[in-house]
């Protein structure tokens, strides 16, 4: 009796999940039966689960170039594996699953649940399918952009001397594109400001008080209202199915525990694979098969760890030599000056302060991870001086501007330093070459 009740409940849970997933725009949603069979690692329905994972992960990585639109299962399997690797999923058995997608439904269920929890997969997808009001702006704060191995560098290697000029051309073109984008953004901001000021006092919510772009468009074209209504209704249904899922979620996790138990029970009976290859190599087959972006990231991680190790050894060496010399100097000093306790205390305090200052100066570039958040712009009277931290839900534009300006000056000083380093390097190189005069460009 209890078992049947549990079964019915389970079916309800899975059904709500399937409904939510279908609402999020996934086309081929597997039936609840597929999920149930997955627990027992049945082979049928595995392909459906691979396709489900692919459809859920693809919207989050739209610009990954390694996947075509065609429904090629092998490519989809590869994509899912590389994305899971990117997020740090450490279960080796998943990466050893065959590329034709015939086995491993249980592993896929576990991976899916892991994604739900780890990266809030469903919430991210919900966020993406939100209705846009037109007032949004994205802010990218913190972090330094990773320099990826761009195709331009290969052009230089191939093209010889001409390649550098082509690169300069491309850089100039990029600069012009950027300027056009900048002008377009300024225009957008000016027009948005106009809309907000003209519609002051029109909104029913007093804390907002002006209309958004989408709402203004509705006033201009009343015929759009039915369409807007439809969109709003579908969004409400989606949110309702999400709420339903949230209500039943604890049961899902309990079921997942049973799936995990089933897996562990099976594993202890199976003979462990003798040659358990490393997790990364399971994905890294041939260089051209693997995802380009993951490759470059792997390369960078290797590079970084190598540099970190070198840095560590270098610092240790420096520190030990410095310490030895300091100890000697301290010995000499001690012989010269007889110190009494109060003087020593005062000097020690001063030194402590100076060291603290120097350390804080070194710590200036606190590298935060790059965040790309979308904010809705609201035009409000400046009332109280609320200084909210930038990463909270709500913030003031002046605050953001201040932080961005600080970032800008940091980057600018870094650029100036890099430029002067480059110039020194070039002067040094030129000094070694005879018969050539180095003429820098006209001062700006």
């Amino acid at each position: 009796m209890m078992q049947r009740e549990a079964n019915v409940k389970l079916k309800e849970v899975i059904f709500s999940l399937c409904k939510l997933v279908a609402g999020l725009g996934v086309e081929a949603v597997p039936s609840p039966e597929t999920f149930r069979r997955g627990k027992f690692n049945r082979r049928d329905g595995t392909a459906d689960l691979w396709k489900l994972l692919y459809s859920l992960l693809k919207p989050l990585h739209p610009d990954c170039p390694c996947v075509s639109n065609k429904a090629d299962l092998a490519l989809q399997v590869d994509f899912v594996k590389s994305v899971l690797l990117h997020y740090g999923y450490g279960v080796q058995e998943l990466y050893q699953l065959p590329a034709d997608g015939s086995e491993g439904s249980r592993e896929l269920l576990l991976a899916l649940s892991w994604l739900f929890h780890k990266i809030n997969l469903l919430e991210q997808l919900l966020y993406k399918t939100r209705l846009s009001l037109g007032d949004e702006t994205t802010l990218s704060l913190g972090g330094t952009p990773l320099v990826e191995d761009s195709p331009g560098l290969s052009a230089v290697r191939e093209g010889g001397g001409g390649g550098a000029r082509y690169l300069e051309w491309l850089q100039g073109q990029l600069r012009f594109h950027w300027r056009a984008l900048h002008a377009a953004q300024e225009e957008k901001a000016a027009l948005l400001y106009k809309i907000h000021t003209y519609t002051k006092g029109c909104h029913s919510d007093p804390s907002i008080s002006h209309l958004s772009v989408a709402e203004t468009r509705l006033i201009k074209g009343p015929r759009q209202q039915s369409r807007m209504l439809m969109l709003l209704e579908s969004e409400i249904t989606l949110l309702e199915s999400y709420l339903e899922w949230k209500r039943l979620e604890p049961l899902y996790w309990r079921w997942m525990e049973s799936v995990l138990d089933a897996k562990l029970a099976d594993d202890s009976q199976e003979v462990l694979n003798a040659d358990t290859v490393a997790m990364a190599s399971g994905v890294k087959r041939k260089d051209k098969d693997s995802c380009q972006r993951n490759q470059s990231m792997k390369r960078e991680v290797d590079q970084l760890s190598k540099e970190l190790l070198e840095l560590k050894w270098g610092l240790q060496r420096e520190a030990s030599t410095k310490r030895a010399s300091w100890c000697k100097r301290v010995e000499h000093k001690e012989q010269d000056i007889p110190l009494n306790p109060e003087e020593f205390g005062a000097i020690a305090l001063k030194l402590h302060d100076r060291v603290g200052q120097k350390l804080s100066a070194l710590r200036c570039n606190n590298v935060k991870p790059a965040t790309n958040t979308t904010y809705r712009l609201l035009l409000q009277e400046t009332t109280k001086q609320k200084t909210l931290p930038v990463h909270s839900g709500e913030t003031e534009a002046s605050q953001v501007i201040k932080e961005l300006k600080g970032r800008e000056s940091d980057l600018l000083s870094e650029l100036i330093k890099l430029r002067s380093d480059c110039k020194d390097e070039m002067l040094e190189m030129m000094a070694r070459v005879d018969g050539i005069i180095f003429i820098p460009p006209l001062k700006r």
Binding site: Y166, W169, F176, R179, A183, E187, A190, L191, I439, L442
Partner: protein, 450 residues
């Protein structure tokens, strides 16, 4: 997307007034062969680009007029007002009582800084009227004092105040046998300084335009007005709305699109214009052109470095395919290598025009693929009553010889320090001269090794 025109000096103001005239006439003449929607889109785009509407519906040009003497400016303003269709804004001009006496240093070091605030104020007011600033179009001559000296200073200020804007400078190259004795010094200083602040420098040579007037338009007594009209026609054919490749709306960023296709490399900023057909109004009614004919002619003009339609050397050919780079020196010296070309086609059946001839890699330098180097804009609207009109904006070696000539003559003068005291007394030192010469030599070298 609006362009703010800054007319500097006598030359700039005269040509500017003719330019707005051409644009206004072109916008108001309806094109019989195009549907009404096309006409409307064209005129709306053109109006937004060059004119602003005042409160009482008065159409005023988005322009700032700057000169040291009041004569030319007042003439320009009154001529514009007489047209009845457009006028200059009431508060858009700046002038003083006395000129710069063709002294570049006077314009650059004295008048420029002294009047910087007032002039930038005028420009700022014009910019604020724009919903979206498409860039600045500065018109000046190279040889005078106000236009070239102060104009260069103002361009520098513009770059400082609007660092992300597109700045296109139109410079008029003086007559080879010009009257101003220091015109070569002025030209050298102007070009070297403009290279720093401007994005692109569009050159018109007085000698060339004079020949066009004489031979093509059959004008007996050529006045400055005729020359200016030709230049205005050529400029208008570039700046009026057109469709970039694959676009379904008139381009809203003309200066940006122009720069993207032509002047991305910081060492190659000199642009030349060729426009065909050009003829007197009387002959216009009796002439019929085909696109293949026009394009073939234009291509040969480019290759043979011809400045106008007549007297084109048809013997010059581009090098054969597959010629290795090492043999570049033995190439036909009269052949004009291009870095980038932009074709602007206006008129009837423009979609059928085949621009394949300009995609020939032999025309271009080796390090830029012809797909990138060559672009085409089109519009079915006819321009300035020419049923078909083709313009070529070209970043090529065409200015190499004149530039070399000017630098050579200026250097000869400088070697004997002739007239240099006129400059040093106002603040341009001999060091500055040497810097300018070096910069220009670099530009000449870059273009020679294209």
């Amino acid at each position: 997307m609006s362009i703010v025109t800054v007319q500097l000096g006598q030359c700039g103001n005269q040509i500017g007034q003719e330019l707005f005239n051409v644009i206004s006439n072109d916008t108001h003449s309806s094109c019989g062969q195009c549907p009404k929607t096309e006409n409307e889109a064209y005129s709306v785009c053109s109006q937004e680009r060059f004119f602003s509407e005042g409160r009482n519906g008065a159409v005023s040009a988005r322009a700032v007029l700057v000169d040291m003497e009041p004569k030319v400016i007042s003439h320009a303003i009154s001529t514009a007002a007489k047209s009845g269709r457009w006028k200059y804004g009431d508060q858009s001009s700046f002038c003083q009582k006395q000129g710069s006496g063709n002294n570049w240093a006077n314009g650059f070091c004295v008048h420029g800084p002294r009047h910087e605030e007032d002039i930038m104020d005028l420009i700022r007011r014009e910019v604020e009227k724009c919903d979206r600033l498409g860039g600045f179009f500065n018109m000046m001559s190279m040889a005078g004092g106000t236009g070239s000296g102060m104009g260069t200073y103002i361009t520098q200020c513009l770059r400082g105040t609007y660092p992300h804007s597109f700045i296109l400078n139109q410079v008029t190259w003086p007559y080879g046998t010009g009257e101003v004795i220091v015109q070569n010094y002025n030209s050298v200083l102007t070009l070297s300084h403009l290279y720093q602040s401007s994005d692109a420098i569009l050159v018109h040579e007085n000698d060339t335009v004079h020949k066009i007037c004489a031979q093509l338009m059959n004008i007996k007594q050529i006045s400055f007005k005729d020359v200016n009209k030709v230049i205005a026609h050529q400029l208008g054919s570039v700046l009026q709305p057109a469709y970039t490749e694959g676009a379904s709306e008139y381009n809203r960023n003309p200066l940006g699109d122009l720069m993207k296709s032509m002047v991305c490399h910081p060492e190659y900023k000199l642009l030349g214009l060729r426009n065909i057909p050009q003829m007197s109004e009387a002959s216009l009614a009796y002439s019929v052109f085909t696109w293949p004919g026009l394009l073939k002619h234009l291509r040969q003009m480019l290759i043979a470095n011809a400045k106008m339609e007549e007297g084109v050397d048809w013997q010059v050919r581009p090098p054969a395919d597959g010629l290795p780079l090492a043999e570049k020196g033995t190439r036909n010296r009269r052949f004009n290598t291009s870095l980038a070309n932009l074709l602007i086609l206006r008129g009837k059946d423009v979609q059928s025009a085949d621009t394949g001839g300009f995609m020939d890699p032999a025309l271009y330098t080796s390090w830029l693929p012809p797909g990138v180097a060559s672009s085409t804009w089109r519009t079915p609207m006819s321009f300035n009553r020419y049923e078909k009109s083709a313009t070529l904006v070209s970043n090529s070696q065409f200015l190499l010889k004149p530039l070399d000539g000017i630098v050579g003559k200026a250097w000869n003068m400088f070697a004997s320090r002739a007239y240099v005291h006129q400059y040093t007394q106002f603040g341009i030192s001999e060091e500055d001269f040497l810097d300018s010469f070096t910069a220009l030599e670099q530009i000449i070298a870059s273009y020679t090794h294209l």
